[in-house]
C-alpha cells in the first residue's frame, strides 16, 4: 500500500458526534467559567447575560453529556487498558520527546489517549450527576442542603479536571500532525498510522 494512501479512521457519524460534543463542551465550559470565577463573569455576555447563562448552561451540559455517552458507548472497547499500556505510560518522557520508536506499539489508541478517555467518562458522569442535584429551579429542592453543597463543589472540581483534560486533548491534536485531519475528514495516511498506531494499522491490514 502507498505510504500516502488514505485509510479511514473516523466514519461520518463519529465525526458528527465528536464535533457535537466539542461545540457543547465549548459552550458549557464558557458559560460555566462565567459563573466559576468573578474575573470571567464577562463571558456571560456571550450567552445574553447572567440569567440566560444560568438558564442555558445545564441544558447545554445535558446535551454534551448525552452526545458524549453515545460516543463513549461506541469507543469504550477501543479504550480497554492492555499490558503494554503501563510500559507506554512509564516512558512518558519518550512520548513527549517524539521518540515513538522506543515505545510499545500503540493500537487504535495509545495509553495516554485511553487514560484521557476514562478521565472524560468519569468527569462527564460526575458533572451530569452533580449538576442535576443543584439545577434550579427544577431539581435542587428535592435534595438535602449538604448534598447540594457537596454537589456544587464536585461539579466545579470535575469541570476543572475536564477542562484540563480537553486542553491536553486539543494540544495533542495540534502537536501530532494529521490527527485533526482524521477528525475533520475521517482519514489518515498509512504513514501516519504506521508511526502513531502501528498495531491498529496491522489489524486494519489483516481485515483488508
Amino acid at each position: 500500500m502507498e505510504m500516502s494512501a488514505r485509510i479511514e479512521r473516523y466514519a461520518a457519524g463519529e465525526r458528527r458526534l465528536h464535533w457535537s460534543i466539542a461545540i457543547g463542551f465549548v459552550l458549557a465550559a464558557l458559560s460555566g467559567l462565567a459563573l466559576f470565577h468573578p474575573s470571567l463573569y464577562w463571558l456571560s455576555n456571550l450567552f445574553g447575560g447572567g440569567p440566560w447563562t444560568r438558564i442555558l448552561h445545564p441544558y447545554i451540559g445535558v446535551f454534551m453529556a448525552l452526545a458524549f455517552g453515545a460516543i463513549a458507548a461506541r469507543f469504550w472497547h477501543h479504550n480497554r487498558l492492555e499490558p503494554g499500556d503501563w510500559q507506554y505510560l512509564r516512558q512518558w518522557r519518550d512520548v513527549l520527546a517524539n521518540h515513538e520508536e522506543k515505545l510499545p506499539p500503540a493500537g487504535r489508541y495509545n495509553a495516554g489517549q485511553k487514560g484521557l478517555f476514562w478521565v472524560m467518562v468519569a468527569g462527564t458522569l460526575l458533572l451530569l450527576l452533580s449538576g442535576v442535584i443543584f439545577w434550579r429551579p427544577w431539581f435542587a429542592y428535592f435534595f438535602p442542603i449538604e448534598l447540594v453543597r457537596l454537589a456544587s463543589l464536585l461539579h466545579a472540581f470535575a469541570a476543572a479536571v475536564l477542562i484540563l483534560g480537553i486542553i491536553v486533548h486539543v494540544y495533542a491534536a495540534i502537536w501530532v500532525k494529521g490527527s485533526l485531519g482524521a477528525m475533520l475528514r475521517g482519514t489518515v495516511s498509512v504513514r501516519w498510522a504506521r508511526k502513531h498506531h502501528p498495531a491498529w494499522l496491522a489489524e486494519k491490514m489483516k481485515q483488508g
Binding site: M3, S4, L35, F36, H37, P38, S39, Y41, S44, G50, P51, T53, R54, L96, A97, N98, E100, F134, R136, P137, A140, I145, E146, V148, R149, L150, S152, L153, A156, F157, A160, I163, L164, I167, V168, Y171, I174, W175, V176, K177, G178, G181, S189, R191, W192, R194, K195, H196
Partner: protein, 305 residues
C-alpha cells in the same frame, strides 16, 4: 432593593477589588429578646406593609406558624416551639426567624453574580435583585436556611433589615411595630450592652442559662437574640448552636477558584512551550516522503549541521 449610595459597601458578591467604602459607618444591629415576645406577629405585618409584599393566603398546618415557612414574600416568620423544661414547666418559645445579617455572609461568599449581594458598611447584608441570576448559590451558602428563590421571577429574596429605612435614619419596620419592645435596634455596641442588662435580669429571675446569641462562627451577626436558654439554641425551632459557612462551600468558593484557573493557564502555557521547543510530531514530514496534502515534505525540523 437597589444598592443605596447613602450606604457605603464593605463587601460585594463576585467582586475581587475594593468597593466604594471611604465613609466610616457604625455597625448596626437588631436585638430580638425572645423572653419579651408574645407572638402577636405585628412585626410580620409591618414587614409585609413596609416592603409591600403580600404572600398568598395559605392553609392552617396545625401550628401557630403562619405562613409555615419563610418565602420570597414572607421575609420574617414567627416560629413557635412548645418546650417542656426539666421541672415539667411548659414554655412557649417564639422566635422571629429571618436573615441574621452575618458579618461573614455565606450567601455573599457563594454568589457568582457581581453585586447581586452586598454588605453595607453598617453590616446590613442586602440582595440586589436586579443583579441576581437565580442560580440559588445563596441558598447553598447560607448557614441559616434563609434565602428564598421566587417561583415567579427566579430572583432571591430575604429580609433587608429595612436598609432603605436605616439609610435615612429610621429603625426597621418590625422594630417600630413591636408592642412589647422585644425588638430593639441601634448600634451593635449599644445592642450588646442592652442585651447584657436583659441577660442579667433573666438570670436573676431564674433563667441561669440566659444569654446573647451572636454566633462567632459567622463573625457575629447583625441580628441577635436574647435567649432564655442560650446553652441550647436548637430548642428555638432549630436555631444552630455553632453556625458557620460549610467547609464544602468554603473550599468551592475559596482555594478551588484560583487553583483551577492557575492550573488551566499553566496547562496552556506548557503546551505552547512544548510546541516551540520539542516541536510537532509529524509522520509525513519526518519520513521525508511524498507528503500529505497539508504538510509538504520540507515542513519538518531542519537537520542540525
Amino acid at each position: 432593593m437597589s444598592s443605596l449610595q447613602s450606604l457605603d459597601i464593605r463587601r460585594r458578591s463576585a467582586t475581587t477589588s475594593a468597593s466604594p467604602s471611604v465613609r466610616e459607618q457604625l455597625s448596626v444591629a437588631k436585638l430580638i429578646d425572645i423572653s419579651k415576645c408574645i407572638g402577636c406577629k405585628a412585626c410580620q405585618s409591618a414587614c409585609m406593609e413596609w416592603n409591600d409584599v403580600r404572600d398568598a393566603i395559605g392553609s392552617n398546618v396545625g401550628v401557630y406558624d403562619n405562613p409555615p415557612d419563610l418565602s420570597d414574600k414572607s421575609w420574617t416568620v414567627m416560629r413557635f416551639t412548645e418546650h417542656e423544661t426539666e421541672a415539667g414547666r411548659l414554655e412557649w418559645l417564639i422566635r422571629k426567624d429571618g436573615c441574621m445579617h452575618c458579618a461573614d455572609p455565606g450567601c455573599l461568599k457563594a454568589c457568582p453574580a457581581p453585586g447581586a449581594i452586598v454588605q453595607y458598611a453598617n453590616g446590613i447584608v442586602d440582595f440586589i435583585e436586579e443583579n441576581c441570576i437565580g442560580c440559588g448559590s445563596c441558598v447553598t451558602g447560607c448557614p441559616f436556611n434563609v434565602p428564598r428563590i421566587s417561583k415567579a421571577d427566579n430572583k432571591a429574596y430575604k429580609c433587608t433589615l429595612c436598609s432603605d429605612r436605616v439609610a435615612v435614619g429610621l429603625e426597621p419596620a418590625c422594630v417600630k411595630s413591636c408592642p412589647t419592645g422585644a425588638i430593639t435596634f441601634g448600634t451593635k455596641e449599644a445592642m450588646i450592652d442592652h442585651a447584657a442588662e436583659r441577660v442579667a435580669d433573666l438570670q436573676e429571675r431564674g433563667y441561669a442559662q440566659a444569654g446573647l446569641y451572636d454566633p462567632q462562627g459567622v463573625g457575629g451577626t447583625h441580628v441577635m437574640y436574647v435567649l432564655q436558654h442560650a446553652d441550647t439554641p436548637e430548642i428555638y425551632h432549630g436555631l444552630p448552636a455553632h453556625p458557620r459557612i460549610s467547609a464544602l462551600v468554603a473550599l468551592w468558593k475559596g482555594a478551588l477558584k484560583p487553583l483551577a484557573l492557575a492550573a488551566m493557564g499553566l496547562a496552556v502555557l506548557t503546551g505552547f512551550f512544548h510546541y516551540v521547543t520539542v516541536g510537532p510530531n509529524d509522520a509525513d514530514a519526518q519520513d521525508g516522503g511524498d507528503g500529505d496534502d497539508d504538510h509538504p515534505p520540507d515542513a519538518g525540523r531542519p537537520a542540525r549541521i
